[in-house]
């Protein structure tokens, strides 16, 4: 009986590891980039991405039947990024501020990429989440609403307010 339980436990762990590896291969790049845009720092983004996948692993070990979608990963990633930004705001020594310390390094040759990053830096956490989930990760307002646990109306309103702020930085003509 104990042997059976142990075998089942091992089976469950191996299954979870296999599924996590597949999730990592499929989503690591997009998720890490999303998080880098969110927090503005590559190393922090990598740490947060790893945390997201470890959370997924814990969930799969506890409940192997649970389907983990990309939406679930983005939800956890968004929550982690928001908590990180909140912590950083409370104690600025947690990490160097985004744009101050050359976060988007030399490999970032695109002016648009840099402009977009400084425009994003001017947004509040909630607006940032809505803009990145819809315009960057490609979710509809309905899907983003489900990820953020708010209404689709609220997502669209936040996007509108974000656009108002970003168009000044991006110098979008009226």
């Amino acid at each position: 009986m104990i042997g059976q339980v142990q075998v089942l436990g091992l089976d469950r762990t191996l299954d979870a590891q296999y599924r996590i590896e597949r999730l990592v291969l499929e989503h690591q790049s997009r998720l890490a980039r999303y998080l880098r845009r969110f927090v503005g720092d590559r190393d922090v983004a990598l740490d947060l991405t790893q945390e997201v996948f470890l959370s997924a692993y814990r969930v799969l070990c506890a409940d192997p039947a649970r389907p983990l979608t990309a939406g679930w990963l983005y939800k956890v990633a968004t929550n982690r990024a928001i908590s990180y930004l909140r912590r950083r705001k409370r104690s600025p020594e947690v990490a160097t501020p985004i744009e101050a310390a050359a976060p988007f390094r030399l490999d970032e040759r695109s002016a648009i990429s840099l402009d977009v990053q400084s425009a994003l830096a001017g947004l509040g956490r909630e607006q940032l989440a809505c803009v990145l989930l819809t315009m960057y990760a490609g979710y509809s307002s309905q899907e983003a609403a489900a990820i953020l646990s708010i209404s689709p109306e609220a997502v669209r309103q936040r996007v509108c307010r974000a656009v108002r702020s970003m168009r000044r930085t991006l110098e979008v003509p009226a």
């Binding site: 762990t13 590891q17 996590i20 590896e21 990592v24 291969l25 690591q28 790049s29 890490a32 980039r33 880098r36 845009r37 590559r42 983004a45 990598l46 991405t49 790893q50 996948f53 470890l54 692993y57 814990r58 490999d107 970032e108 040759r109 695109s110 648009i112 990429s113 402009d115 977009v116 990053q117 425009a119 803009v131 819809t134 315009m135 960057y136 509809s140 307002s141 109306e153 997502v155 669209r156 309103q157 936040r158 996007v159 509108c160 307010r161 974000a162 656009v163 108002r164 970003m166 168009r167 991006l170 979008v172 003509p173 009226a174």
Partner: protein
Amino acid sequence: MSSNHARFEAVAGAIALGEASPSEHAIFSAHAQNCSRCAGLERAGPSVASFVHTALHEETWRPFVREAVISGIESLHVASGRRTALWICTAVCVTLFLNLVLAAHVGLPSKASTTSLARTSPRQNLVARMPQVRRHPPRAADLAVLRATQTRLKPALDVERERAFQRE
């Protein structure tokens, strides 16, 4: 008024995301002509979205976290193994402590170690718990009475046996 304006903002957001219907476009255009906050949003929204989208496609960073995730999973297992060992140690210590407390409470010799407790049989435990009878050294007078009784009883018994034999 502000909740009414929030409705137009939601429509502007839908326009920026390319989710607005033609009728919503028309409603918002009519509103934006008379609203300084919304002026130009109809065109700015999709432009901003296209900037962000372009930035996504121009990403050159290729992040890999597979190794980090696997080592994270391994350290999770090590941590959980340590937790299990700690639990087992705690359980053993608590059991030993309770054993000692119980032994002291029931009246076993308090200096008895747990190993001697484990070795003693239930009978030995019972004997150990029985009240001790005080033993005195036999007095000389008592010994004399005992010997006399033994010598008196022995021949009487032999005579009895002999009579029984003859009867048979």
